[in-house]
Symmetry: C2
Subunit: 448 residues, 2 copies
């Protein structure tokens, strides 16, 4: 077992690991961007050089998993996600190099104000500190989050799906060994937890851990945020809608509805419900439903929709349907009286993820985009665009449906915060409150 | 009793008020900046015009409070804060006009990227939605937070200290009546809760309320964040330090130490502990302690400090002292072996609020400002500068010691979030994943 593995991780040792991670974070905050990037390139090389070792560990996990699949305790899809190969190794290394090439996220002057002669205030981006990340059994996650964390000067505590235990241990070992060439990077910059009990202990360490990113089901994310005082960045679910207005261009409407539903139905940014303006429903619905059905989509319809397109193959939509993230080739369709009903439906059932309107009416589009409360509000574009790479963020940590800190696809920004640096020359507040001196508040760099 | 007061506020009616606030927020999001500013000016005028009514209500509160003070159940200081007068009314109105004059916080393009021809992504500032604010018995808080909320397009649910019940009701009545002249502003944009039970109910409404700002003791803030899934913006406490390095200029050191402690000791940004480098302690301490004592400050000293300045008037500092926010004319002094011990002490006992270093050594200053994890890290300046008005933010909602969303003195930014607006022309993701089209990701406006 490699040196990084903590054999008997118990209450005190999780707390101890978190304390060591915090001490590591203090040292990471001092590294220059050039240094962090050099370390990332070294880690990328190590992944390639020790690819065979990583694949061997992955093979062990896959053998174990095969038995579980055979016993019906793991789906073949999950098994496929667990398995990696030489191309997977090359991609892991390439993604780490991509992160190294991203613009420097730390030390950015977000704002600067000369408060008075010789007294200047800087608002500067800086690392969060220690970030806990809990993720599914996918081999590529460790190099991905470890590189984002190092790029942003944060220490990470990781817990991956148990099915990938050997792969994860091999990857963390490769990562730590590569960074051991850099004496200024403490080994505790990355820590791997092993059990669910470790995670429970971690949730209590709000003095050491600054952010938790849980990846997984909505229930899992909710469980984490209910059992910890540590801030949580995550998304509960993606119940996304496409509202086809009466002023919609039909070709765009059909293309966007189809793409939003079928391009990758398991994604959180896939649409679950189509809302159709009643003025065009009778003419649009037959063509739309035929297209969906020929793509293998099961259609669940509200009574008005069913009345307009009578078909034994339409399933009546229940109340539950409107609140369900199918993550599958199923769609619910509702015919609405107009804008207000559409927006009201989205407010009631939407998950604040991504909402699209299809219309040629600029006024309707503007009103939709102002009124609808979601991380993404799209006009004449597929909901599937809601993604960090498509947005050009360079890397994606996840998608947040919360409104604070980071919203929507989260890139490096999600792992940084800022601090105010005030540089003076012996300045005291008394001299301002006495009227002896006055603030100038000259903006040197404005935030917006 | 005016129309806004909710006489029998119970479980269902708090939830109902929150739902109405949420509906109001949807309408507020559509108002232009000019409109919101006009409404603010109208509210400022109404405060002046109905000043006598507000003062009469305040007089009732003060009469009630006097009895309580007489019975020893309220301190004279709290009574003084509760009381207002004609000048107080004029100041309330002036502060509302100040908020109207601030730069527009909504609809700011924070970033823009052309993803492809005809497909542009905008990151735009927008309101949070519904904000719950719980505050102490001070008359000026209602116009202050109501104006910040309206400026940022948010609906607010307020609960003030019960001692100011009549004043608060009068102020909310004046505010609502003034805004009733603007039919586009829903009355539910501002709601006043009346009891602690109302607050408990509010904490459960995470589907309606986007942020809670509790103002009050550390215990109170902690209670709120432990009893709600709604994000909380607040500061627990302010245990701030001044570290006087061996390379400090003595005049600056004395001025900054004194100002940080005595300029307004009840403030959260006042210093509680002075850390003195051992190389200068023997020479600096006698003068420093004499200055503090002549200003009426009680000095609690670590053993090394006490040994250097033997005096029967020095109180020995206990372990508790290092973790205590005195909010009073008391200071603890510790002689430290150097930078590492100073930073270690701050990491252990500091509250991540504001930390200052006094030194002429630029390297020490830079290392202090990078390493110390606090909302404000100051070089050769008093900790008392940590304040929204002194920072030039124009308005201060409070000071956050959390690292997410908003940190340090929080201005209008704390009440806004952003959304991604994607404007396309029928664009689908399938055409990019098929290789038919490629992303351009041309930055039109970069965030940093």
């Amino acid at each position: 077992m490699s040196s990084f593995a903590i054999d008997t991780m118990n209450k005190s040792s999780v707390a101890d690991a978190a304390r060591r991670a915090k001490a590591a974070a203090r040292r990471l905050a001092l590294l220059t961007g050039e240094f962090r990037n050099a370390a990332l390139l070294c880690a990328a090389l190590a992944i390639e050089e020790r690819g065979a070792e990583i694949l061997a560990a992955n093979e062990r996990d896959c053998l174990d998993a095969k038995r579980v699949v055979g016993e019906g305790r793991m789906t073949p899809a999950l098994y496929q996600r667990l398995r990696t190969n030489e191309q997977g190794i090359a991609e892991m290394a390439a993604r780490v190099r991509d992160v190294a090439a991203l613009p420097e996220p730390l030390g950015c002057q977000l704002a600067a104000t000369e408060l008075d002669d010789g007294l200047t205030l800087y608002k500067v981006s800086c690392p969060l500190g220690v970030v806990g990340i809990i993720f599914e059994a996918r081999p590529e996650v460790i190099p991905q989050v470890a590189s984002l964390a190092l790029k942003t000067g944060n220490a990470v505590i990781l817990k991956g799906g148990t099915e990938a235990t050997h792969t994860n241990e091999a990857l963390v070992s490769v990562w730590r060994d590569a960074l051991a060439h850099f004496p200024d990077i403490p080994a505790d910059a990355i820590t791997l937890l092993h059990t669910r009990e470790d995670v429970s202990e971690m949730l209590a360490l709000d003095g050491e851990i600054d952010l938790i990113i849980p990846r997984g089901s909505r229930e899992f994310v909710r469980y984490i945020s209910e059992h910890s005082r540590i801030p949580v960045l995550g998304h509960g679910e993606g119940v996304c809608h496409v509202y086809i207005d009466r002023a919609a261009d039909w070709q765009k409407a059909l293309a966007i509805a189809m793409d939003s539903k079928i391009q990758y139905p398991a994604a959180c940014n896939a649409a679950e419900t189509l809302l159709i303006h009643e003025d065009i429903a009778a003419r649009l619905l037959p063509e739309l439903i035929a297209a969906l059905r020929s793509a293998g989509v099961e259609v669940r319809a509200c009574p008005r929709t069913a009345a307009l397109v009578p078909s034994p193959e339409l399933v009546p939509a229940s109340e539950d349907d409107w609140a369900t993230e199918y993550s599958d080739l199923i769609v619910s369709i509702k015919t609405v009286g107009g804008f207000e009903e559409a927006v009201g439906h989205i407010e009631r059932y939407g998950s604040r993820h991504t909402e699209a309107v299809v219309t040629e009416d600029a006024g309707v589009a503007a009103r939709f985009m102002e009124t609808v409360d979601a991380a993404g509000v799209f006009h004449n574009a597929s909901t599937r665009f809601a993604d960090g790479f498509r947005y050009g963020l360079g890397a994606e940590l996840g998608i947040s449906t919360g409104k604070l800190h980071a919203r929507g696809p989260v890139g490096l920004d999600g792992l940084t915060t800022y601090k105010y640096k005030l540089v003076g020359d012996g300045h005291t507040v008394a001299s301002y409150s006495s009227g002896e001196r006055f603030f100038k508040h000259r903006k040197l760099r404005d935030e917006r």
